[in-house]
């Protein structure tokens, strides 16, 4: 019999939260579909506002004075983030559900049997990556679109009250979406189910509110996660919307609750 020599190692390291974070970063960057989704989110966040501003600018001469008066220059600037939220949300779900569908979760939990460091690391890594990509994207989108609109003096200045908050807020909003969708994915543990839940919360339920009597709609709608979160992105506030930071704080609360429920289930359930 020929002995199989397995080289040993004297290295002995403990699992720490600080070590699980780079591990999750390796996981995130080493899957091609993740890199593509993030690239698409970035390109759309920058590209759509430039496209939208160009179209608006070229039609500006045909617009009625009324239309011009109602035009909000922030709308085209932040239109990309509306699309990016879908990409970020789906990716947030996938960050965990892909581990369940491929079986990777068993390797992950064998290495980190206490499990919670994995959830915190995933949330940290994905939130930081989202913010680091999305903040420059929305800034570029804002300044590029406003420079196009400035030909017709239809732009809005960075120094205008609320503008900086709304633009940076768009990046913050997407960052919280990253955490919230990770939480949803962890609770549901299934890619299709997780994406469906995310889409229901952000895209299906809000418009459904319009079938309610106006007084109900006004009472409920502002507190929906998507509307609460988006109040930070807007500079034109209708009477029923929550104040920007109040809404955003509520949105963070929703994300925190989702993540806590996810954490409790993650520790309790079999894999």
């Amino acid at each position: 019999m020929s002995a199989v020599a397995i080289p040993g190692t004297t290295f002995r390291g403990k699992v720490t939260q600080a070590r699980v974070i780079p591990s999750e970063w390796t996981k995130l960057r080493s899957v091609r579909s993740t890199r593509w989704s993030l690239l698409v989110a970035t390109v759309l966040t920058i590209g759509f506002p430039i496209l939208a501003a160009s179209v608006i600018s070229s039609h500006w001469g045909h617009q009625s004075p009324e239309e011009r008066a109602n035009f909000n220059p922030l709308d085209p600037a932040l239109i990309g983030s509306q699309i990016a939220q879908l990409a970020i949300g789906i990716l947030g779900v996938l960050v965990i559900t892909a581990e369940y569908s491929t079986g990777m979760i068993r390797a992950t939990f064998t290495a980190v049997p206490r499990r919670l460091p994995v959830l915190w690391a995933k949330a940290t890594v994905f939130a930081v990556v989202t913010f680091v990509l999305m903040l420059p994207s929305v800034l570029i989108a804002f300044f590029a679109s406003q420079s196009i609109l400035s030909r017709h003096h239809a732009n809005i200045a960075w120094s205008h009250p609320g503008v900086a908050r709304a633009v940076i807020g768009a990046a913050l909003y997407l960052t919280v979406i990253a955490v919230l969708s990770l939480g949803l994915g962890t609770i549901v543990r299934n890619t299709a189910g997780g994406i469906a839940t995310f889409a229901a919360v952000f895209f299906v339920i809000p418009p459904l509110m319009n079938v309610l009597p106006a007084s109900w709609n006004d009472a409920i709608s502002p507190y929906l996660p998507s509307n609460a979160g988006r109040s930070i992105i807007s500079i034109t506030h209708d009477a029923h919307a929550l104040a920007p930071w109040t809404g955003f704080a509520l949105f963070c609360g929703y994300a925190a609750i989702t993540l806590v429920v996810a954490a409790v289930l993650l520790v309790r359930r079999d894999t």
Binding site: G13, T102, M104
Partner: protein, 305 residues
């Protein structure tokens, strides 16, 4: 060292593991044997804390798996179900796991070479053959240079060369003083690698014994006899209390008498014998005998044989 005490696991109303108690000792290869569906994989998931026992308790090197501050240095495991993200390369897979313990990159590259995945280390694991996947699983198990190695059906899907490699690996690991726990539904595989056997059926412990004792204890001694005067011989041997069975090939299988007793009885009646062979039941037969009553489906038994 693995110590299970009253380990029980229910899935809905199905009992997968039923009051299992056993110890797995260092320095030898302990085989974990049972037909398909007998609860081997479930037991291993319970050991790793991936599933929670309904009742009972299992520790590795004196602690619950999850209480080890550096689990990959305690136990290396290869699970039966694939545990790799299909979109990630072998190298990044190992690196991500290594990073949780701060294990240096050099160790990852070293293991990739040892298991022979050097040329495909940057390929997506989803494109791996079953054999390459097993090798990646072994590399994962050995990453932390663990004291205890636990492999669930490691030879599944391997080519003969790979099977040979695994057998030698298991023996080497045990010789180094490690605890080696390896499952299989094939007795023949266990007989080639294991020193000790833990046999289960329907989640229950059937035997916890050395391989040698298992064979000796479970097998009935058979004597194969060939004679042109079968009817006459049958009558005599029945009279001496033997149990008789004629095989399809016309061979008479005798149990309950030794070859000497049969030979002398035949000689006394001047019956001609063309063949008289004591036959030690094979391990596979012993295993089949032992688990016969425990098989959930006859089909599973045929598969195991």
């Amino acid at each position: 060292m693995i110590e299970a005490r009253g380990l029980t696991k229910d899935y809905e109303d199905k009992r997968a593991v039923d009051d299992l108690s056993f110890d797995v000792h260092p320095g030898i290869v302990t085989g974990f044997l049972g037909p398909n569906g007998s609860g081997k994989s479930t037991t291993m998931r319970l050991i790793l804390g991936l599933d929670r026992p309904t009742k009972g308790n299992v520790t590795v090197n004196g602690k619950h798996y999850r209480d080890h501050p550096a689990p990959l240095h305690e136990v290396g495991a290869l699970l039966e179900a694939r545990s790799v993200h299909t979109g990630r390369s072998a190298r990044n897979h190992l690196l991500a796991l290594a990073q949780t313990h701060g294990i240096p990159r050099g160790r990852v590259d070293e293991l990739i070479d040892v298991v022979g995945l050097h040329d495909v280390a940057k390929k997506r694991a989803g494109k791996f053959s079953l054999g390459m996947g097993q090798r990646l699983g072994i590399a994962t198990a050995l990453l932390g240079d663990p004291q205890t190695v636990m492999l669930d059906e490691p030879v599944n899907g391997l080519d003969p060369e790979g099977i040979h490699w695994i057998r030698n690996l298991l023996k080497s690991l045990a010789t180094e003083g490690r605890t080696v726990f390896v499952s299989s539904h094939l007795m023949s595989e266990m007989s080639l690698t294991a020193d000790h056997l833990i046999v289960i059926g329907r989640g229950k412990l059937i035997a916890d014994t050395s391989v040698a004792d298992f064979v000796a204890g479970a097998s009935k001694q058979l004597v194969h006899v060939r004679t042109p005067q079968e009817a006459a011989l049958r009558e005599i041997l029945s009279g001496l209390g033997a149990t008789l069975h004629t095989t399809d090939e016309g061979l008479l299988e005798v149990s309950g008498l030794t070859a000497e007793q049969i030979g002398e009885a035949a000689a006394a009646q001047k019956i001609v014998l063309h063949e008289l062979t004591p036959h030690q039941a094979s391990l596979e037969e012993a295993f089949m005998d032992l688990t016969r009553g425990e098989l959930e489906f006859a089909a599973a038994g045929e598969e195991a044989a």
